[in-house]
Amino acid sequence: MKILTCPVNGSRPIQEFSYGGEVRAMPDPKGIGDEAWADYVFNRSGEPGIQREWWYHIASNTWFIAERDTISDEFIRTYLWEASA
């Protein structure tokens, strides 16, 4: 079982976490065509490499970002969301 480091609670077994998908900025719904919107909603790149992912520490209700290498399945680093980021 993998270990994931929550920025608040430290290293914990992966069972304590819930995966929240790739970090993606929502495009402005007002100025976007149907196809481009559908692309945002339904398609994921799946490209191997370092991906930014949402993770949630269930016991403490903590959302944070993890950078994970999807080729080696290694977490590179984790940090809390910054609204400006």
């Binding site: 079982m1 993998k2 819930s18 719904p29 976007i32 909603v41 339904f42 209700n61 959302w63």
Partner: protein, 966 residues
């Protein structure tokens, strides 16, 4: 036990403890410390099992569990492995996979038909005619397979355990003992696991006669035993390596899930077989197996043996034979120059004939085929000579032609291997962080260097954990000469040359599979099943790769190898099975429900009353009675499982506006609204009520099953949007109950300080006040379609308030009602349940929720996708369906399909087989043109017959919502 030798220096048996056991009906004795196979061998029993496909006689081959020749059953345990299971008093054993017993196995005729069973025959044969396949299947299953499952066995719970250490050392041989000692010396917490019953590894058998080595081993074991930070677990197998050094350990009774900071693998090397005619006969064994028999169990298995050699280990075996009183008839050494070390001279000096550059081409079977009477020895690569080669009389044959690193767990851990021609074996070339390999698995064969290699790995692992910062010396070089023959395969026409003993695969099977196009190792494995038997290719995979490389004209590295997966050895399913840890949530009035004969069911984590038993009344009738009482007078239901979320702060209304489809800016304080939430695809994911308690204070209810996930999304969106809100999930802190029915106002009024008059507290109102002297939040709700009050109080007051309201309702004959009655009541009202009447694709327009979507809102999640749906025609619509009054025929289940003209046109989402209205009713998705009231729909029941229903307008009951507005 006439084959037992006098006491050996490091033997594992305890001669003071004699054990009685039975095998195939006959009585035997053995010693404590014997494994099943050694106890039988002590009596000269060489025939220990029958092979998987041809039912060929088999005996000890590796004595290390690397083959599956000797498997036993006592009727309860189906697959006791003779090489490793310790003998116990009173065992009553039979060999698996025979009919009529091991000796006279009536299935041995199968071998005569072997030419009709080419590789992959079960993919090709028996499929025509199709009707006959079940017969063939039954027969094949009887003949093939390894043992019978005892279906009468009572399941026993196998405990799980968890453990932690800084450094795990897997393998307690020379390198492993040193690694554990070195790591232990640095002060980190060490665990050493050894598959065998005792520590020592190859020290115990390969160096069995060397008293200095035995003494050094004993001292090392004693030193480890004296280290408080070192835990030793013998008879424990590391079965799988998972992410971040999470290792599954198995012993006789349990699985232990171990988390290690670093892992040192010192699993040693597995001696590999040679392929020649009848190489599977009992009496043919690995040199290491002979040494294990002699040194661990003091057994002399044969009187006169031939040794097939390709390394110096074979000469050690020959010397062990001489010391044990076995006549060495000959050594056939595959190497043209023979043995360069001093061992060669010692063996020659003892008068053993050495045939350099010679191979064994055939083990010649005895008349009864249960053993051998000789070995055909001829020059290597001279098949013609082989046919008339010299037969050297012998009753045993030891094979010592090469080794392969015991790599299964290393591969799982991510260690990469490469084949090198210096050693003619695979050696690790790259290791992931925190994984260290030492000893023979790394290609280090000299004993002093094995020990040094172990120490280096132990220190490195300790340093990896960050708790040791000493300098670590460089690891010793790997061996400079090959200990393995590059191609120990000597085809013998017409005789069975076995490559995989588990699966009875012989050399021609590989050639045939290759000819049929299975020229990659992964394909070849799946077609031929090589390496797929109980020993997982420990003895077969390397030779299979060699054979395929030769057939393809490729190198070993280009040929590759198959993927190693858990488990290293088969483990009892009982060790894996177990309870899952599920949280169980009970509402505050749980005990009251129990006391009132509630039938509980699991709703997610929650335990909820489904209905309450009522004398001898049947389930469906109980439910209808409960529902009728709500309609006619008064009912009470525990809705403590509702999600209860607090949304407070200046931006609270903004958050709700963005999360829900409806409008909340103008929602008055003291009022609530029904809200629907979507995901970005526009799919309905949640519904509930949003109550405004103050300008910046909202109380939100969510579905019992979806509340946690929805709360999670609330948190994320609030963070992304940087809104000034405080969110808390009060689901567990608050109890909730719903008092429903025309008499609910009269029942509640005396117990609260709130003015319940319709003017002061209208439908869709929310009030904070006291109920039974407890601070409460009360909402006038209408989910079940009657006048009703939902009362939320702190969980620790929940049961008291419940009891008080129940007592107050006695005057109106109050009945508690369960989830089923509630579902029935809301169904009559046409209220959908998200996740029950909706699915993962349902958008609001399909389920009549367009009224809940706020027009001209600036933004809400899912809005953009809804704009796309709004321009399209819907593909289905949720409608009410009913059967005639008093209908007594068969009814569908929820999710049964609606069929029209042979086509699926919809499905049932909810169904009530009985209702206070007197007829069965439900909701269903249908195609939009079938949504008109009066349309006839046909639902296909599980049995295949059709049931006819009629589409009706929703709701079924009180279309003007007059009852809930009383």
């Amino acid at each position: 036990m006439k084959y037992r030798l006098p006491a050996q220096p490091g033997e594992w048996i305890d001669r003071t403890q004699e054990l009685n056991f039975r095998f195939e009906g006959a009585a035997f004795t053995g010693f404590a410390g014997d494994v099943i196979a050694s106890a039988l061998m002590a009596h000269g029993v060489q025939l220990l099992g029958r092979s998987f496909k041809y039912h060929r006689p088999r005996g000890v081959y590796s004595l290390a569990g690397h083959d599956a020749n000797a498997m036993f059953s006592d009727g309860t345990h189906t697959h006791w492995r003779g090489d490793s299971v310790l003998l116990a008093q009173g065992m009553d054993l039979r060999a698996v996979n025979t009919i009529g017993g091991l000796k006279g196995d009536r299935l041995n005729f199968v071998e005569r038909f072997s030419r009709f069973m080419p590789v992959g025959f079960y993919y090709k044969a028996f499929h025509r005619p199709v009707w006959a396949f079940p017969f063939y299947e039954k027969q094949t299953r009887k003949i093939a397979g390894l043992g019978e499952v005892n279906s009468a066995l009572l399941p026993t719970a196998s405990p799980k355990d968890y453990a932690w250490c800084d450094v795990l050392v897997v393998g307690g041989g020379a390198a492993g003992l040193e690694a554990a000692w070195a790591a232990g010396e640095t002060g980190v917490r060490v665990m050493l696991v050894e598959e065998q019953a005792r520590l020592g590894g190859s020290l115990a058998w390969q160096h069995g006669r060397n008293l200095a080595v035995q003494q050094a081993c004993g001292e090392l074991v004693a030193a480890l035993a004296g280290m408080a930070n070192v835990e030793i677990r013998c008879a424990t197998m590391a079965g799988g390596h998972y992410a971040d050094h999470w290792v599954a350990l198995f012993d006789a009774v349990r699985m232990t899930k171990l988390r290690a900071g670093a892992v040192v693998y010192t699993p040693g090397a597995i001696e590999q077989p040679a392929v020649f005619g009848h190489n599977d006969l009992p009496g043919v064994m690995l040199g290491s197996a002979f040494q294990r028999l002699v040194h661990l169990y003091a057994i002399k298995p044969c009187d006169r043996m031939v040794v097939l050699a390709a390394n110096s280990a074979a000469y050690g075996v020959a010397l062990d034979m001489l010391a044990a009183g076995v006549e060495v008839a000959a050594i056939a050494d595959l190497r043209p120059d023979g043995e360069p070390s001093v061992l060669g001279e010692e063996v020659a000096a003892a008068g053993v004939p050495i045939y350099r550059g010679h191979a064994v081409y055939e083990a010649v079977p005895r008349g009864d085929k249960g053993g051998l009477r000789g070995a055909v020895v001829a020059p290597v690569d001279d098949a013609i000579a082989a046919r008339r080669g010299e037969i050297i009389a012998c009753d045993g044959l030891a094979v010592s032609v090469g080794w392969m690193p015991n790599a299964a767990l290393l591969s799982q851990a991510g260690v990469e291997f490469s084949y090198g021609q210096t050693l003619e074996q695979l050696t690790p070339i790259a290791q992931p962080d925190g994984v260290f390999v030492a000893g023979r698995a790394r290609g280090v064969y000299d004993l002093a260097q094995q020990r040094e290699d172990g120490r280096v790995a132990g220190y490195m692992a300790a340093r990896y954990t960050g708790q040791y910062d000493g300098e670590v010396a460089a690891a010793p070089q790997t061996a400079k000469e090959a200990h393995s023959h590059p191609y120990p395969i000597f085809p013998h026409r017409g005789k069975k040359n076995f490559v995989d003993f588990d699966e009875d695969l012989h050399l021609t099977d590989f050639a045939n599979a290759h000819q049929e196009g299975y020229d990659s190792i992964e394909l070849l494995k799946r077609y031929s099943t090589v390496g797929m038997g109980p020993s997982q290719g420990k003895l077969a995979n390397m030779n299979a790769v060699r054979i395929l490389a030769k057939l393809n004209g490729d190198s070993i590295n280009d040929t590759g190898s198959t993927t190693s997966r858990p488990f290293y050895q088969p483990v009892p399913l009982g060790h894996l099975a177990g309870r899952r840890f599920h949280p169980l949530r009970r509402t505050s009035s749980h005990e009251w429900h129990r006391g009132h004969d509630a039938e509980f069911y699991h709703a997610g984590d929650w335990y909820r009353p489904e209905y309450y038993h009522h004398g001898d009344t049947q389930r469906d009738e109980c439910i209808v009675q409960e529902a009728r009482q709500v309609r006619q007078s008064l009912g009470i239901i525990d809705v403590g499982t509702l999600g209860k979320l607090m949304v407070n702060g200046p931006d609270a209304v903004e958050l709700l506006e963005r999360l829900y489809t409806g409008r909340f800016k103008k929602l008055a304080v003291g009022r609530y609204r029904y809200g629907v939430a979507l995901d970005e695809r526009g799919v309905v994911i949640e519904d509930g009520v949003i109550a405004r308690l103050a300008e910046d204070r909202f109380y939100v209810t969510a579905t019992s099953g979806g509340a946690d996930a929805f709360y999670r999304e609330m948190l994320r969106w609030a963070m992304i949007w940087d809104l000034d809100v405080t969110l808390s999930n009060a689901t567990g802190q608050l109890a909730a109950l719903n008092l429903a029915g025309p008499h609910s106002r009269m029942a509640l009024a005396p117990l609260t300080d709130l003015d319940l008059s319709p003017e002061a507290f209208p439908y869709l109102g929310v009030r904070e006040g006291e109920v039974c002297g407890v601070r409460a939040l009360v909402m006038r709700v209408g989910f079940v379609g009657e006048l009703g009050y939902e009362v939320h109080v702190p969980a620790w007051e929940g049961e008291r308030v419940w009891r008080a309201l129940f007592e107050a309702g006695a005057e109106w004959g109050v009945r508690p009602f369960g989830v089923e009655a509630q579902r029935l009541l809301r169904l009559e009202k046409g209220h959908l349940i998200v996740g029950h009447d909706t699915d993962a694709l349902t958008h609001p327009y399909e389920v009549g929720l367009s009224w809940a979507i706020g027009n001209n809102k600036r933004f809400f999640v899912g809005q953009r996708s809804l704009q796309v749906y709004a321009e399209r025609d819907i593909e289905r619509t949720l409608v009410g369906v009913r059967w005639p009054e008093g209908f007594k025929g068969a009814l569908p289940e929820e999710c049964n399909l609606i069929i029209s003209g042979g086509r699926m046109v919809g499905r049932m989402t909810s169904l009530a087989s009985a209702s206070p209205l007197g007829y069965p009713l439900g909701m269903a998705f249908v195609e939009p043109d079938m949504g008109e009231p009066g349309t006839r729909v046909e639902v296909r029941l599980d049995a295949g017959v059709m049931s006819v229903a009629e589409v009706v307008a929703l709701p079924f009951y009180d279309p003007d919502d007059e009852r809930q507005k009383l």
